[in-house]
Every structure is written in C-alpha cells, then in structure tokens.
C-alpha cells in the first residue's frame, strides 16, 4: 500500500499546496488534451515525479493493480459491437487513449502520497480554505484519520458477531440492516464521547498551527501547476 514515508528528497521538502496544484493541473491537462504527445509528456512528468520521490513505478503499478485491471476492460467494452464485425478497432483505440491518461495522474498522485504526511495536507487545506470552514475541515481531517481505524474495527466486530450467531442464513438486506444499525449506534456513541472530550479540552477557533511557508524552490512547482491547469485555454 502507498503511504507516507519520511525522507529528505526534493519532493518531501516542497510545499504541499504546490504539489496538490500540480495534480489538479495535470488531471485537467490530460483530460483536455487526450493526444499522444500530451500523454507521452504527462507520463514522462509522472516518471520524473516518481524518480524524484525515490519510488519505483512497479510499486505504484502493484499498489493500484485493481484500478488498472478494471481500466483495462474499458477498451474491450468500447470496441465490442452487437453485430458484424463484432469488434471495432476505432472506438477501442479511442478508449485506450483515454484510459492511458489515468497512468500519469496516478503516478504523480502516488509521488504525493509517498512524500506528504497527512498533517501537511491538513495544514494545506486549512490554509487554502479561509475562516472557520477551513478550521473545521482541518481539525475534522485529523480526527477522521484518528477515528477511522476504531470505527472500522467496530464495524468488523459487528460483522463477526452477526456471523457468529448464524447471520449468513439471513437474507442479505437483513444482514445489511443489522450491520448498519449496530455500527451506527456505536458510531453515534463515539460522537457523543468525542464531543464531551473536545469541550473538556477547550475546543477553540484559534489554536496554534504548524508552520507552512512557500519558499523559492516551491515557485517552479506552483508555476507548473498553474500552467497545466490553464493549458486547455491555449
């Protein structure tokens, strides 16, 4: 699985805002220009990003193999025709070209995940979204990251408990209802406890944030992101 690994590469030291912008820009650029030269350039950019992050493209392909397997089906689906000649090459090739756009975007995205801690992304979100909305998003992200494993364990526990009581005999919709009701109950109980805990700790609108600064090395990254995002206009 692709996760953050602490390191000292150039990508680790870049500001997360610039890195996010490049991902958005790249997605916009490849969607706007599904041509072979653009795809080649984008894939090259993806490989450069992976190399800069010291991440092997094979690792990325392995991590996203389900995604690539599902995508590989699309050109076949697009090419199949209900009558002779049964398979048409042109729509299949068009679909293949569109599907190929996914590869560079996932490469750059993987480089981001590998080099950016959740804390940094949180800080970026909190700086980008102004005011109280940004604060709630920032704190909320940190809390979801912390609580996700607990809630997942709750849901799995409920599922196992239903199974231990012979739940497989019941119809699927009834199992779904039981699972969702019990999980929801536990989740809402956690919500109440979290609320008490936050108020007990003086949950405030003006806490202290980790420092985040755009430095000289971030400007080329920001410029690249803006250029890619605006490329459809050229």
């Amino acid at each position: 699985m692709l996760t953050y690994r602490p390191g000292a590469t150039v990508l680790h030291r870049l500001d997360p805002r610039g890195k996010l912008l490049v991902q958005f820009g790249l997605a916009i650029a490849v969607v706007a220009h599904p041509t072979v030269p653009w795809l080649a350039g984008a894939t090259l950019l993806g490989l450069v990003a992976l190399a800069a992050a010291r991440l092997s493209p094979l690792t990325v392909l392995r991590a996203y193999w389900v995604v690539f397997a599902v995508l590989a089906v699309a050109p076949f689906l697009a090419g199949v025709a209900p009558g002779p000649p049964w398979f048409r090459v042109d729509p299949a090739l068009r679909s293949l070209r569109l599907v190929a756009r996914v590869v560079p975007v996932l490469f750059v995205s993987a480089a981001y995940l590998h080099t950016t801690s959740v804390r940094e992304t949180r800080a970026a979100v909190q700086r980008l979204v102004p005011g109280k909305a940004g604060q709630l998003l920032g704190v909320g992200m940190a809390l979801v990251v912390r609580l996700f494993p607990l809630v997942l364990a709750d849901v799995r526990e409920v599922r196992d408990a239903i199974r231990a009581r012979g739940g497989q005999q019941r119809p699927a919709w009834e199992r779904a209802r039981l699972l969702v009701v019990r999980s929801l109950e536990r989740t809402l109980a956690r919500s109440d406890r979290l609320g008490v805990a936050l108020r007990a700790r003086c949950f405030a609108w003006n806490p202290t944030l980790p420092p985040l600064a755009i430095e000289r090395r971030d400007y080329p990254v920001l410029a690249l992101g803006v250029a890619l995002a605006l490329s459809p206009l050229v």
Partner: protein, 194 residues
C-alpha cells in the same frame, strides 16, 4: 523570555455536537466502504458505501452532512486508504477506475438529501419529517450520484454514455434497496434515543 497572550474563542456546544457527528459519519462512511456482503451467484457484492451518504443527509442536513462527506474525500486525498479496496489519493478521485464521479456524487448527494429533508442548514428532528419527504430526499441524492458518476465514468474510460449507463444499471436496484433499508432504520425507531 517573551510570552504571548491571546483570548480563547471556544466553539459553541451545538456546533461541537454536529461537528463530532460529521467526523464520526465520515469515519463510518470510510469503514463501510471497506465492507461488503457477498451475494450468491454472479451478482456484484452488496456494498455498504451509500449508507454513509444517506445518514449524513438524513441526520445532519445539508451543511454538516456535506462536511462529513467532504472530510471523507479529503482524508482519502491526503492518503488514508478510505476508498473501496483500500485505495487513496487525488489521482484515484479524479481519474482512478472512472468511479471518482460517484465519490464526488456522494458529497453532492448528501447536500441534496439534507436540503430536501431538513429545508435549512440546521438539522431538524427526523420524527417531524414524513416518510415520503425522506424517501424523496434520498431518491434525489441517488439521482445526483448517478447523474455525476455515469458521465464521469464515460469521460474517463471513453465508453459512450449509453454504454457507461448500461455498465452501472445493475447497481440501481441494489441502491434503491439500500435506500429502503436506510428509511426503515430511521422509521423503525432504532435511532429513537437520539
């Protein structure tokens, strides 16, 4: 040594309550995305992911329900494996296997369901909302999910729009069944203590 002083502006009690519910519903959406009930034969597995959107809209209204789904998406973008099959990353949402439109659709769907059910940003007691209104809100949410998800799938994979719709059509009856389960849970009094 210099010292800094500043006044502390506490977050209001109601806001804390809705905020923690949004946080926990985001975590629940993430957890339910990892779990599915296998169905017999060649049917696709019964995914529990839409329940997060349903309950965010039903329990929290447009503002806080939207926050719950926005948190779910942001945490996934930040790299926590919260999307189905443990996927993560901005790239997965934007292009992925073409299903990113459904993730964005869940966010918009929660806002739409919340707006129809609660008619305002403050969530109201669900006991005062009639069943047809709840069903209408959730049906509208599902319509939004498919209206965003299917063209998105078509754009990413290059499948023509009708064919993309055909690929997703088998999921519609299951989603309607889930909608029924969600309303039954609310109406069955399972959450009456809230």
């Amino acid at each position: 040594m210099s010292q800094q002083y500043g006044s502390v502006e506490l977050v209001g009690d109601e806001t804390v309550r809705y905020f923690t519910m949004a946080v926990l519903l985001a975590a629940l959406t993430a957890a339910l995305s990892q779990i599915s009930i296998p169905l017999p034969g060649s049917l696709p597995p019964f995914s529990l992911q839409p329940f997060g959107m349903f309950f965010a809209g039903l329990l929290l209204g447009p503002l806080w329900g939207g926050l719950a789904l926005a948190l779910y998406l942001l945490v996934g973008i930040a790299g926590v494996p919260v999307f189905s099959n443990g996927n993560a990353g901005l790239g997965y949402v934007l292009v992925g296997q073409g299903t990113g439109g459904f993730l964005v659709g869940f966010l918009v769907g929660a806002v739409v369901a919340g707006a129809i059910v609660h008619r305002g940003t403050t969530p109201r007691d669900l006991r005062t909302v009639s069943v047809p209104v709840q069903v209408a809100g959730l049906v509208a949410a599902l319509a939004v999910v498919y209206a965003i998800g299917v063209p998105w799938l078509s754009a990413v994979t290059g499948l023509p729009l009708p064919r993309a719709a055909t690929v997703m059509a088998p999921f519609v009856p299951f989603d309607l069944l889930k909608l029924g389960i969600a309303v039954a849970i609310v109406e069955g009094g399972y959450l009456a203590v809230r």
